[in-house]
């Protein structure tokens, strides 16, 4: 699907019913829209018609690199859902809606001192090219910068790139990023567009075993990133309307390092970020000192000390006993003992669990059987039980409610045991069946597996749950050698992504490498291709509605919820922020 091309006539009234968007604002908007591209005008239309909430409008506008001032002006005319996120850069944002997440106030923070953080340990060596776990990306984030920053509100903000826009044919195949001037690496050398080109060439080169290949495969090929003056131009393998997310903090491997970087980050941790790595001890901790030459908001504290915890209960105790000021990324259940005495900082995310049913194997060959299983789940109760209500309902597709492109007019699937029984009977399974459910041992997943086990009992389905640690569950992570990909029924964990591209691709495309449901549907494949290439929200929503309806009908995977994390801090520690991926921003953190 190509971007819609249509003749624009008069702008849509931003507030036909009057209210606080007065006539002069209307005139300003009209003037501004004359300089907007077709895609940008489409996005504004969607917002003004009420098809996008303010939060979603700001998020989408940020992807297209729209003017921050204009977006702020437009956002002020819309609904009043709030935006709470952060950017360590502290730069004027494209979306113009930056706040701090942990309740920062306007009082000037007192500089100096040390902030102590407890978080999960990096599970492998710290190398920007290979890092693939929360602990590692938290360390990287302190030292490095990204072209763009993706907040927990899904809004993109400028980082090393001051601005960005689709260029060339403006179909999303070519994107141009303007690189900020005056940025210095920690060794004092100036960052140049060539460093950016080298960074992405390195990540897109299969020879480098980059973890970012899971994002760039089929999107970006080595050699297709060019410097042009102060700009860096990305020519993609195919149009991609969400590309700016793929060079953001969402793609945590994409910190900008020097062009001569030689996989020696632990001994030469040179980035452009607000903190310089002082000491790193595997499994134990890391300490950082403020980077006095940082181009953005300089950290309030002089030092930041991270202690790595292998166990969530120990992390919680660490905060309670005063060993740390912030306990980062604690599950909702794990943080319950902290309620009352400490300040929570909710991290909205699109992280979720996928309950797959293999469409190529009995008893799930008949889609009515799969639908029946999905209909047994009481999703609001599951969310209440597992997350204390702090999660979003899933509707059996990767389109989380937070995504601007999600079409919320698609009816939410709810528990309906009568319908489930009749569907199962129609599929010839009215007596039920025995089935094994393989679940990964991660956070609440074993509990979720038990809830599924209990939910399907009324249908006569006897589930035997097999909970396996990550190594055993993923196995070799290729078909035929992995319980994750081979089990008839299974539950796997997926982390946050600012756009649903990854979730729509590998787990569900016919040739998807993580297609545990073995779902092969050419209509779906075509729709996803259309979705990836769509630049404006209206086009994305048109496709997403079809995808949502198709997946609800086929139900290869149950998406029951999209959950949130929480960080906790001492009550006098405020101002720290968290990205959707879980990176911790300490630049504006303060005590007292």
């Amino acid at each position: 699907m190509r971007i819609r091309s249509r003749v624009r006539t008069a702008p849509v009234d931003p507030n036909p019913s009057g209210g606080h968007c007065a006539m002069d604002r209307y005139r300003r908007l009209d003037l501004a829209r004359r300089s907007m591209s077709e895609i940008e005008n489409d996005t504004v239309d969607e917002y003004l018609r009420g098809n996008l909430s303010r939060r979603q409008f700001v998020a989408r506008a940020s992807v297209l690199g729209m003017s921050g001032g204009l977006v702020a002006f437009l956002a002020a005319c819309g609904d009043d859902d709030s935006t709470t996120t952060t950017t360590k850069a502290g730069a004027t944002t494209a979306a113009g809606a930056t706040t701090t997440a942990a309740g920062a106030t306007t009082a000037a923070p007192k500089p100096g001192g040390t902030v102590k953080i407890g978080c999960t340990a990096p599970s492998a060596s710290i190398d920007p090219v290979k890092v693939g776990d929360l602990g590692g990306l938290i360390v990287l984030y302190q030292v490095g910068d990204y072209l763009t920053f993706s907040g927990s509100d899904l809004v993109l903000r400028p980082g090393i790139a001051e601005k960005w826009e689709p260029t060339g044919a403006k179909d999303g195949k070519e994107w141009t990023f303007t690189i900020r001037q005056g940025v210095k690496f920690h060794d004092g050398t100036a960052l140049t567009p060539d460093d950016v080109v080298a960074t992405f060439d390195r990540l897109a080169d299969p020879a480098n075993k980059s973890n970012a290949l899971s994002v760039f495969k089929g999107v970006l090929t080595k050699g297709n990133v060019k410097a042009n003056g102060q700009n860096v131009v990305f020519t993609l393998d195919a149009p991609n309307g969400n590309f700016p997310y793929l060079v953001s903090t969402d793609n945590y491997n994409a910190i900008i390092v020097k062009k001569d970087y030689a996989s020696d980050f632990e001994t030469k941790p040179i980035g452009t970020g607000p903190w310089k790595l002082e000491k790193y001890t595997p499994k134990q901790g890391a300490s950082f000192v403020r980077n006095p030459d940082y181009w953005g908001t300089k950290p309030t504290f002089d030092r930041a000390e991270f202690t790595f915890y292998a166990d969530e209960a120990a992390l919680v105790l660490g905060l309670q006993s005063g060993a740390v000021d912030i306990a980062h990324a604690v599950s909702i259940a794990g943080g319950k003992p902290l309620a009352g005495g400490y300040s929570p900082n909710l991290i909205p995310s699109t992280a979720h669990r996928q309950l797959h049913m293999r469409v190529d194997q009995d008893p799930f060959k008949d889609k009515r059987t799969r639908q029946a299983v999905a209909l047994t789940l009481n999703r609001p109760e599951i969310i209440k039980g597992l997350f204390d209500g702090k999660a979003d309902l899933g509707n059996d597709s990767p389109f989380a409610p937070a995504y601007p492109s999600t079409d919320k007019s698609v009816a939410q699937r709810a528990q309906d045991l009568a319908k489930a029984k009749s569907l199962l009977a129609a599929a010839g399974q009215d007596k039920g069946f025995d089935i094994q459910l393989n679940a990964i041992k991660a956070q609440e997943v074993p509990d979720y597996a038990t809830l599924v086990q209990n939910a399907v009992k009324p249908l006569g389905i006897n589930v035997k749950t097999v909970v396996q640690d990550a190594g055993e569950f993923y196995g070799d992570a290729v078909f035929g050698k992995s319980p994750w990909l081979d089990a008839t029924m299974g539950i796997v964990d997926y982390g946050h992504r600012g756009v649903p591209n990854v979730f729509l691709g590998a787990p569900l495309l016919s040739d998807g490498t993580w297609n545990s449901a073995h779902f092969k549907n050419s209509t779906y494949d075509g729709l996803v291709k259309d979705y990836f290439s769509a630049l404006d929200v209206a086009s994305q929503k048109t496709v997403s509605k079809k995808i949502q309806e198709l997946l609800l009908d086929e139900t290869p995977i149950v998406f029951a919820y999209f959950f949130n994390y929480t960080s906790w801090s001492k009550k006098d520690v405020t101002g720290y922020g968290i990205t959707g991926m879980g990176q911790l921003d300490l630049t504006k953190a303060k005590k007292g």
Binding site: K209, A310, G471, Y474
Partner: protein, 317 residues
């Protein structure tokens, strides 16, 4: 004594050889591969395969085994898959930390449990015996993470007497380090007290009821002399063997305590390496644990032999 020692050393070497084969075989039948474990489930398969090739994991099992054993024999413990560092310093650092905790715990638990056990033995069937036995058994029954969390809650959070984390700041002096190790050591005292005290109690009772003690008493020796020369010397022999076997546990088997108290010891090093399928680190660390167990058992045997000539004479006969 020399032949006794030689035989024990040869036996230990053979055991280590078998251990190396068993550890290597057991670890390598674990499903999953290090490249996938390190890069995560979202990593591209080609990248995972390339990493496995680079790590040497794609080589045949015998090649990997002999490469590892050959390296160990030359003092090279290989390189950690996950941390991309030499295993030697990782293991020795962890071993050093574990030894500090073990020493602290040992210095608390051995005198306490020996005194408790001997007292219980001397007061057999009376209130002191029943109290010590009941308290000891209760401690054995409580899992370490429960007693550890309880101690942290009570002493670190509620009363704030001791730190809840075992690792002191860098550059801390010995006293500060010991102060940080109080709560994990107390956790181990709770676990081990009952075990060692029961052995000491049984040994004491056996010695008290033996003919030689009765003879010594009838000879008119003072009670303190009877206790020191006959009861304790003979009654504590089996306890020494028990205590020596606990050295290995105290140094390498404290993964739960180390995790609860955020302490970078050998136990947690091993536990954390399992999900990452960090085979070279696991193999080498477990081998070191095996050596520790053997050395501590050997020391226990030597002490026992020194205390009880029948042991060494029997072995030489």
């Amino acid at each position: 004594m020399g032949r006794f020692l030689l035989r024990r050393l040869l036996s230990a070497a053979a055991t280590l050889l078998v251990l190396s084969v068993v550890v290597f075989a057991f670890l390598n039948v674990l499903p999953g591969n290090p490249g996938r474990a390190i890069m995560g489930n979202l990593a591209d398969e080609a990248a995972v395969q390339a990493l496995n090739d680079e790590l040497g994991y794609s080589d045949p099992l015998p090649t990997r085994y002999f490469r590892w054993v050959g390296g160990v024999l030359q003092g090279d413990f290989g390189q950690s898959y996950a941390f991309q560092r030499d295993n030697g310093p990782l293991i020795w650092d962890a071993l050093f930390e574990s030894s500090k905790l073990a020493l602290m715990a040992f210095s608390l638990v051995v005198p306490l449990s020996l005194a408790g056990g001997v007292l219980a033995g001397l007061r057999k069937g009376r209130l002191a015996d029943r109290t010590i036995s009941t308290v000891g058994l209760s401690g054995i029954a409580i899992p370490e993470f429960v007693s550890g969390l309880f101690l942290v809650f009570l002493f670190a959070i509620t009363w704030e007497w001791f730190p809840g984390q075992a690792r002191a700041e860098e550059g801390a002096n010995v006293l500060e380090q010991a102060y940080h190790l109080v709560l994990p050591s107390l956790t181990l005292v709770i676990v081990l007290f009952g075990y060692i005290a029961r052995m000491a109690r049984a040994g004491t009772i056996d010695a008290i009821e033996s003919d030689y003690t009765r003879t010594a008493t009838l000879k008119g020796l003072p009670r303190s002399t009877v206790l020191r020369r006959h009861v304790l010397r003979n009654g504590l022999v089996p306890t020494v063997a028990v205590v020596s076997t606990q050295v290995g546990y105290l140094i390498a088997g404290l993964a739960v305590v180390e995790t609860t108290f955020v302490y970078p010891g050998l136990g947690s090093l091993i536990i954390q390496a399992i999900p990452k399928r960090d085979f070279p680190l696991l193999q080498s660390a477990i081998l070191v644990v095996g050596i520790l167990y053997m050395v501590s058992t050997l020391l226990g045997d030597l002490v026992t032999a020194a205390l009880n000539p029948r042991v060494r004479l029997g072995s030489e006969g």
